[in-house]
């Protein structure tokens, strides 16, 4: 059997007409499912629902004035100018129109009235109402703010969304010195990008090592040495005391000029970029009376405590999906992979199927020529095995708990990453004793536990 369709790619097309024309006094028709949050998880939820044959009308609502786009490139390719914003758009307008999805941009939901059956009305800050039969919260997380003197100066920036990235890009040209606060993924990715763009970049990390809890000690040390050898000035156990200013910005705001450290040192900075983690957006869930604890508490089927609202992605606190994890263990994951997999679980849930999320979480971070890929979660490891191939710039750490591999950090080593990810997915093991020789492909020593 063969079907045939000719389509026109729609790059550059304008906003979907479906969302235009509504005025604050109008109330749109009741949508089948209102998805609040139009980023990775919200988009995936809509796409997965249509793939599963969900026929109700869907409204995908976001508070940004952009069509839904992918975020990971913002700190990397987009900042460096090697990809254009159009490349980051998830789906063409035609796709949404053909799939009966209304895309609503630039509406910020401030209050939701909800009935026991799961239906209700969401109210936006502009006075619009969005009645729904079912509700999905894919509201993500927001950048954690650094509340110190000078934090409101012009040029003190965060990097969470496209507008942040555009604001950063707009001032990069005039800046010579950049101070990045926070040695996590976002901070290091942006620092690498800005260094590549010719800026003098200093990274301040409050903790004693880079990348916090996301990777183990060996990987953190590897990144520290790798970045320093590439000329990045990284200062550990260092924090900013205040931001200094001189002169006035065009709009009357004073512009940042430097960062004063606790020891009195002042680093010049025309840009300060802060990447010190995120806070899940739980305000709407709290207003709805849903259980909230480091995110919106959901069950294995992505249902919140009211039994009808689904919450997925960065904003959700869910049972740990890793096979074999401790009963009752809960986790909130900030990753593209989780946004996608969790959305699929929610899509099943909304179509009446009960499918648990039992995937292997994975993460990636590209920094300069370092490609980090992480498979699994390393919490609770009792042994690590290092695989180093300095000649080829490859480095991996495998994490074990009671002799069973549970995770791996792999730098420029996709084969190691893939081998461990596949082994975890199949419940297999990569015996520690044989894994240390970097010349041995992990795939060849993988065993059935």
């Amino acid at each position: 059997m063969s079907t045939h369709a000719v389509e026109q790619s729609s790059a550059g097309a304008a906003t979907g007409a479906a969302t235009e024309g509504a005025t604050p006094s109008e109330t749109p028709a009741r949508t089948g499912l209102l998805i609040i949050g139009a980023s990775q998880s919200g988009v995936q939820l809509a796409v997965s629902l249509r793939a599963l044959g969900f026929e109700e009308h869907i409204t995908l609502l976001g508070d940004e004035d952009h069509r839904p786009y992918q975020r990971p490139a913002l700190s990397k390719e987009f900042l460096q100018g090697t990809v254009e914003s159009e490349s980051l758009i998830f789906r063409s307008n035609e796709y949404w129109a053909e799939h009966n999805v209304d895309l609503v941009k630039g509406e910020y939901i401030v209050r939701i009235d909800k009935e026991a059956d799961g239906s209700g009305v969401a109210h936006s800050s502009s006075g619009k109402q969005f009645p729904f039969k079912r509700l999905a919260l894919t509201v993500g997380a927001r950048a954690r703010k650094l509340e110190i003197e000078g934090g409101d100066l012009d040029g003190v920036l965060y990097l969470r969304n496209a507008d942040d990235a555009l604001a950063l890009k707009a001032r990069v040209g005039d800046a010579q010195d950049v101070v990045v606060i926070g040695g996590g993924f976002i901070g290091l990715e942006a620092a690498s990008s800005l260094q590549k763009m010719g800026k003098n970049v200093t990274v301040l990390e409050f903790g004693p090592r880079l990348v916090g809890r996301a990777v183990g000690e060996e990987t953190a040390e590897y990144f520290l040495q790798a970045h320093r050898s590439r000329g990045l000035d990284i200062r550990l156990s260092t924090s900013a005391k205040r931001f200094t200013a001189d002169g006035a910005a065009g709009d009357g705001r004073r512009a940042v000029a430097g960062v004063e450290l606790q020891d009195g040192t002042v680093l010049p900075a025309q840009i300060v970029l802060i990447g010190i983690g995120v806070i899940p957006n739980t305000q709407l869930a709290e207003q709805l009376g849903l259980a909230v604890d480091n995110g919106i508490v959901v069950d294995r089927f992505a249902l919140a405590s009211d039994g009808t609202t689904v919450a997925i992605g960065d904003c959700a606190n869910m049972p740990n999906p890793v096979p074999g994890s401790a009963p009752g263990e809960r986790i909130r994951l900030e990753s593209v992979n989780n946004a996608i997999e969790h959305a699929k679980v929610a899509a099943y849930s909304l179509t009446g199927r009960r499918e648990e999320y039992a995937g292997i979480p994975w993460f990636w971070s590209n920094q300069a020529d370092l490609k980090l890929q992480i498979a699994g979660l390393c919490n609770g490891y009792d042994q690590t095995v290092l695989r180093r191939d300095p000649e080829r710039g490859k480095f991996s750490v495998l994490y074990y708990r009671q002799g069973q591999v549970i995770a791996a950090d792999c730098v420029n080593a996709p084969l190691d990453f893939m081998a461990v990810k596949n082994a975890l997915a199949k419940g297999q093991n990569v015996p520690a004793a044989a894994a240390a020789d970097p010349a041995t492909p992990l795939k060849t020593i993988t065993t059935d536990s």
């Binding site: 063969s2 079907t3 026109q8 084969l415 081998a419």
Partner: protein, 106 residues
Amino acid sequence: MPTVHFTDAEGAVRDVQGNAGDSVMETAVRNGVPGIVAECGGSLSCATCHVFVREDCLSQLPPMEDMEDEMLYGTAVDREDNSRLSCQLRLSDDIELFVTTPETQV
């Protein structure tokens, strides 16, 4: 205008017109071609945009770099001699590509 003909594992074909400079992966994702997942958005990290390229089209494509080669060993459906990651395949003005998507990408 560049055209990509996507055939899925069951033989259904979709012809998608793309833009020069875009990758085959971007063209697929924007139009919702189901056989392409592209979790990492084209940063060569996930191997979920695997395609089989029709043999006579291979010569039109850029050579494979080491990283793509290694990532291809991690695809959900085993690689073949004509396997590529579609995020690495850029469209040019006159290109006409025939690719088949695997049964699954994850």
